[in-house]
């Protein structure tokens, strides 16, 4: 199953989003939160994110979803740090909450990496009020 890594400056956002996703996609066991710094403060940490990617990967690859600014930069750095390892990993250009839910549901039904990435990215521009 395609794994998911949730990157936020806030550990609470990443953990909370993981909890929310676990309610909706209960059988997905490869969701890893990588929020904040090691000491719990606000920020993003490329090394932690790269470890989370390793942990989320069961061989089918990993989609990373990030929040703002350095969340994206640290995620790109993390992916680069894993260049020499045999892990298929993609960073989604998607809103983190909606994208994570869509990606988790897609992964749970057995979609491949590209399809899970697309499920997340299809949330871009989604209207909440019709």
């Amino acid at each position: 199953m395609v794994g998911l890594v949730l990157v936020s400056h806030s550990p609470k956002i990443a953990e909370g989003l993981k909890d929310l996703t676990s309610e909706i996609a209960a059988t997905h066991k490869g969701i890893v939160a990588a929020g904040g710094l090691e000491d719990g403060s606000i920020g993003t940490d490329a090394i932690r994110i790269s470890e989370a990617i390793r942990q989320a990967n069961d061989g089918d690859g990993v989609v990373v979803l990030a929040d703002l600014g350095s969340g994206v930069m640290s995620s790109e750095t993390a992916i680069e740090l894993l260049e020499d390892e045999d892990i298929k990993v993609k960073l989604a250009d998607a809103p983190i909450v909606e994208g994570t839910i869509a990606a988790a549901v897609s992964a749970m039904v057995g979609s491949d990496l590209e399809a899970v990435l697309k499920a997340a990215e299809d949330c871009r521009g989604a209207k909440k009020i019709p």
Partner: protein, 206 residues
Amino acid sequence: MSTRVYDCLKSIAEKIIENKDFLTDLDREIGDADHGVNMARGFQAVIEKVDPEDADIGNALKKTGMTLLSTVGGASGPLYGTAYMEAAKVFAGKTEVNGDDFKAAMEAAIAGIQKRGHAEKGEKTMLDALMPATDVLSEKLAGGASLVDALTDACVAANEGIEFTKTIAATKGRASYLGDRSIGHQDPGATSLTMTLETIRDFLKS
């Protein structure tokens, strides 16, 4: 007895930590008021994590980069982290600094920052100090100047770069939300980058 490269990194760390409030105040004007705090936290960790006895400049710079990636927290983490890690590749296995390697390391740092931040010169970022400094360093070295002399002139260019950032609007990062209201303020990243170069200059002179 610690190595020269460790002592130099420690001087940079001390300079950044000393200027924590100044850098944060600059960032309060146009950003999210965390540059000094974040950089000070990162460099405090650098002092603790780099091996004081390993004379391999490449190892020391790589460890510095990895440490900044995981401890700075904001955008400066991946930007400075990548810059140090790219510079580390130039100095892999080396224990001495010469002009050619220093220039190559600055160029590698620029390429790393650009890859990470997708920024060009003139966007009110650290590149507005680093790019002109590298141009001047390169020109002076080509003219036969010593590394210290070339770096001294490069620091003048970096300071002019800081002045230049006051005249332009930010188009990258949080300051870009302010648009033209960012004009008149100097860029915190260009400032910390210039402090770094000045510290290396003073260190090489000593």
